[in-house]
């Protein structure tokens, strides 16, 4: 291992360096603004460094990490998400009475690092390591507001369930290793083609349980609404975008390699999970009265939609999933960003009723939030529509009629609750809602993030071809 080999790891290294740097700075000079700036700087530097990596051929760092266009794209996406979360968090933390604001950023950088390792991993060891870095720092972040009982509950719930799912994951890995003697993804994949089954299938089954938990697919979704509601809004944004996206991106790369489209039992399992997630998520969301819980169930449904494209085969499916993920990142960051910006020093606006008349009191924030909701509902001129269109196209191309029909039916159900929130925001009857979001602390950073996200949301909806062109270049294994 020499310097040349480390070069592709530059983004990951920069993030790690800034973790250490942040720790040192905090111990010497405890200042919220400095830490936040340093974190932002680190993320921007890491982003810039992705541009300088040689992308012509896939590069391996030992057998553990693979750096190619595909992984760099997702690392970039995760870094951008982390940057947005940093910008949003500054306001959120300033409003909190919590005295220790600075360590938050250390954890944030660590989860970013974990997610980046997950998407670039080529080996079960690096995958598991990345996953653990990701989730351990997430435990801390979810329960960061130590006085908030909801937050603590969420943190503990996530901790216990994530640990359980990790056990499933490890057992699955062990079974696969026992059978094949391999931990490297690329070498395991060919074993499937040879028709050899043995422990592979049970191992994969356990693996799916573990992954299903991370992606909060039905029936492994129980933790989602509580954690989404209890965690600080910017952290929920990160959880919903980067942490899930990283796992999904990895799954997409290797499950397509082992040919799930030809394996009937795997196909059936995923199809059932997909349909259950779409309907489960959308139907359960109807019963909720808290906005963050609604978004939690909606994210369950959205990953069900994603599975539709995931199960379709070919390049179209690949770009569909990638586009959908990018669009979903932008949308969900925008949605939770708006919630962050609307929250006051007391609490986040959480009950639907606290959004009453929001559009008239805070036209810009209300507008942004409505736009993200419309994007989640998949209305044209937003990123969400192109994503949904792409997913449907991939599904129809592969004749996954049941999945596509469930997607259409369940997204019509989904309209109810998105429209419910929008209708409340546009309601003229201002009711007894408190004026939220009037506190301008840290609004510059949050506002900047929201403006960027809104522009991206509309840009991806109106002119998707720029991103599509980029995505078509990163497809790792052209069929």
């Amino acid at each position: 291992m020499n310097g040349q080999e480390l070069l592709p790891l530059l983004p990951l290294l920069i993030v790690s360096v800034f973790v250490v740097l942040n720790l040192i700075v905090i111990s010497l000079y405890r200042n919220h603004q400095t830490t936040a700036l340093l974190t932002g700087l680190g993320l921007v530097l890491a982003l810039i460094s992705t541009l300088f990596i040689d992308k012509s051929t896939p590069q391996y760092v030992m057998p553990l990490i693979i750096v190619d266009r595909y992984s760099i794209f997702f690392v970039g996406l995760i870094l951008l998400a982390a940057l947005m979360v940093t910008l949003l968090s500054y306001r959120y933390l300033e409003l909190q009475k919590e005295s220790r604001k600075e360590e938050y950023y250390v954890f944030l950088l660590l989860t970013t690092l974990g997610s980046s390792v997950v998407v670039s991993s080529n080996h079960f060891v690096s995958f598991f390591l990345g996953l653990e870095i990701l989730s351990v720092s997430l435990y801390a972040l979810i329960a960061y507001k130590a006085e908030d009982s909801l937050g603590l509950e969420a943190g503990i719930k996530y901790l216990i369930l994530a640990a359980t799912s990790d056990a499933f994951l490890l057992f699955g890995i062990a079974l696969i290793y026992a059978d094949t003697g391999q931990l490297e993804f690329a070498r395991i994949a060919p074993m499937f083609d040879s028709g050899h089954i043995g422990f592979l299938l049970p191992g994969l089954g356990l693996l799916i349980v573990g992954l299903g938990f991370k992606l909060s697919l039905v029936p492994f979704h129980m933790w989602t609404p509580d954690v989404y509601q209890g965690a600080p809004a910017p952290i929920t944004a990160f959880l919903a975008s980067a942490s899930k996206g990283a796992v999904f991106a990895l799954m997409l790369r290797y499950f397509t390699k082992i040919g799930i489209h030809t394996n009937n039992s795997l196909l059936t399992v995923f199809a059932v999970i997909a349909v259950a997630s779409m309907f489960g998520g959308n139907l359960l969301a109807l019963l909720q009265n808290y906005v963050k819980r609604i978004l939690a169930y909606s994210s369950i449904a959205h990953f069900g939609y994603l599975l539709t494209a995931f199960l379709a085969s070919g390049n179209l499916a690949f770009s569909a999933v990638t586009y959908y993920l990018a669009a979903y990142f932008v949308t969900i960051l925008g949605a939770f960003g708006a919630i962050t910006a609307l929250s006051g020093s007391k609490a986040e606006p959480d009950l639907i009723d606290s959004y009453r008349g929001m559009f008239w009191k805070q036209p810009l924030l209300g507008g942004v939030f409505s736009a993200t909701l419309l994007s989640l509902a998949g209305i044209p001129l937003t990123a969400g529509f192109v994503g949904k269109f792409y997913v449907m196209a991939a599904g129809i191309n592969s004749h996954l009629w049941i999945l596509v029909v469930s997607l259409v039916a369940s997204s019509v159900i989904g309209l109810f609750y998105y429209l419910r929130i929008i209708s409340v925001m546009f309601s003229k009857d201002l009711g007894n809602s408190e004026a939220t979001g009037s506190d301008m602390t840290g609004m510059a950073a949050a506002g900047f993030a929201l403006v960027l996200l809104t522009i991206a949301l509309v840009w991806l909806g109106i002119y998707p071809s720029s991103l599509i062109a980029l995505i078509q270049k990163i497809v790792p294994n052209p069929a």
């Binding site: 209305i379 529509f385 259409v408 309209l415 003229k428």
Partner: protein
């Protein structure tokens, strides 16, 4: 490029109206009017430029086309095209748009800027629907007109507005998604056959598909259009949406949004699936007939004036559905005529109801009566449009309904008989409006203002249009003729085979027409 401006102008005007609202309440209204005036001017130039072509004798169907790249990777283009049918529809859009702006002049008093933004954005979407020749672009416009309309109903509507707006949105979106599935199905089957993956309308025309998939795809399109039209089992959103919307919203809903459904049937369903439309023809026509009779009966049973007019729309649009699926020349012409005339006359009726509601504070027929003595001019106008609605000869609606019945009778006489009953029933409910609202004992204490000049202007121009279309329908029919011929060429092969003696019917029709003259 002209066509793009037709869409951009209302959109820009909407944004300008929104931002200008902070200076004055009048700015948004005048900006919207100016933009729509400009729109009509462009249309006039387009039409005049076409009618004296450089090469006489060569008669082109398409007045103007625009093709830009949008998402080339997926074969989506920004393609617009205008033929006679689109020209008529866009002209109707601009005309009713002006009426909508004028009729909300005093009705809308809150968030005026945002109201006009939504109004103009909705109109831009409608114009886009009438012009798009790329199926995805069409779908995008289809949804773009939906969202502002949702806001128009949900924010400025009457008592039960939230329920109505959500119901409207969900119904249309559900139909729309089925259409999106069908569009994608068509895209991939066309791609697999020809190797060219495109959403372009002209390239997709004449795709020869196996019967079953083709039938399913057609049903997908039909789902979206029949919800919008609305055909009878899918009409349940309509009475609520129309009743709760502000006057301008009702005008646009009834006058334009419903027409996009009919337009879609003519433009897409008939020519794209020529091999299977005959499977759908009979059920669709039965839906049309049921709609005519059911709508008329429901209209008669209403006491809410707006709801009454809404149900009458269901009845009138039944004729359109009937005419479209009879698919012969007369019936199609009748359908187009009915689309235009219904747009104007029902729009006028909604404005009228809005005026009465503004003056008396109620839409309930039970609390009206005797309005003629206090507001005779409004009463007279009400009588005029009630007569138009019941299909009095000499007014535009008569031409539409008569042509439809004539055409349907030739192809499917059994359908025409019950449909003709609809006209009789229209007499009953239309005269009931006049009877209950304007005649009878009057409430002497009521002091209300008769027509304002602004309202008189709107109403007289609408009266003029209905009279003109009724007395000289040939002008409008000539504009639509080449486009209908194009559509019948693309779709008619199988139909003419089935209705073996269409030619003889044509001569019969000509005979009848000359007799009528």
């Amino acid at each position: 490029m002209t066509l793009i401006w037709l869409i951009i102008i209302p959109l820009l005007a909407g944004i300008a109206a929104w931002t200008s609202a902070r200076y004055s309440d009048l700015w948004p209204r005048w900006i919207s009017l100016a933009a729509l005036g400009l729109e009509i001017a462009i249309l006039a130039v387009l039409w005049l430029g076409h009618s004296n072509p450089i090469a006489p004798g060569e008669y082109s169907t398409w007045l103007a086309t625009t093709n830009l790249k949008w998402v080339p990777q997926l074969g989506i283009g920004f393609s617009l095209a205008m033929d006679g049918l689109s020209l008529l529809m866009v002209a109707l859009t601009a005309f009713l748009g002006i009426a909508a702006v004028l009729c909300s002049w005093t009705e809308i008093r809150t968030s005026i800027g945002f109201f006009h933004f939504n109004l103009m954005a909705c109109l831009a979407g409608i114009v886009g629907v009438f012009l798009a020749t790329d199926l995805i672009l069409f779908y995008v416009f289809w949804e773009v007109m939906l969202v502002p309309m949702y806001f128009l109903i949900g924010i400025w509507g009457h008592e039960n507005r939230i329920y109505a707006s959500v119901k409207f949105f969900i119904f249309t979106q559900a139909g729309g998604l089925l259409m999106l599935m069908a569009i994608l199905g068509l895209y991939f089957s066309h791609g697999q056959i020809t190797g060219v993956y495109t959403f372009n309308y002209f390239e997709l025309l004449g795709t020869s598909l196996p019967e079953w998939p083709s039938l399913l795809m057609m049903l997908g399109f039909f789902a979206a259009f029949s919800v919008k039209l609305p055909a009878v089992p899918f009409h349940v959103w309509l009475p609520d949406a129309h009743t709760e919307a502000p006057t301008a919203g009702s005008v646009i809903l009834a006058g334009l949004l419903l027409k996009t459904g009919a337009y879609g049937l003519i433009r897409f369903v008939l020519p794209l699936f020529p091999m299977v439309t005959h499977f759908l023809a009979t059920p669709a026509m039965i839906m049309g007939v049921v709609g005519i009779i059911y709508g008329a009966m429901m209209a008669f049973a209403q006491t809410d004036l707006k709801r009454l007019v809404a149900y009458s729309s269901v009845s009138h649009l039944g004729f359109v559905l009937l005419g479209i699926f009879a698919s012969n020349e007369l019936a199609l012409q009748g359908a187009v005529m009915q689309m235009i005339c219904h747009g104007i006359s029902t729009g006028a009726l909604f404005i009228l109801v809005g005026m009465i509601q503004e003056r008396t504070g109620t839409r309930d027929l039970n609390f009206m009566g005797g309005l003629w003595t206090s507001i005779p001019r409004i009463g007279a106008i009400g009588l005029f449009f009630a007569l138009a609605s019941l299909g009095l000869p000499g007014l535009g609606n008569f031409v539409g309904e008569f042509l439809v019945l004539l055409g349907v009778y030739q192809a499917y006489p059994l359908m025409a008989l019950p449909a003709a009953l609809g006209i009789v029933m229209a007499v009953i409910y239309s005269l009931r409006i006049v009877n209950r609202a304007f005649y009878g004992p009057s409430d002497e204490n009521r002091i209300i203002h008769d027509l304002w000049p602004r309202e008189a202007m709107v109403m007289s121009s609408m009266i003029f249009m209905i009279l003109w279309l009724g007395l000289f329908p040939q002008a409008a029919l000539n504009i639509a003729k080449p486009s209908l011929k194009f559509i019948r060429e693309k779709s008619g092969i199988r139909l003419t085979e089935k209705h073996y003696s269409l030619a003889s019917f044509k001569t019969l029709a000509n005979l009848k027409r000359s007799k009528n003259r």
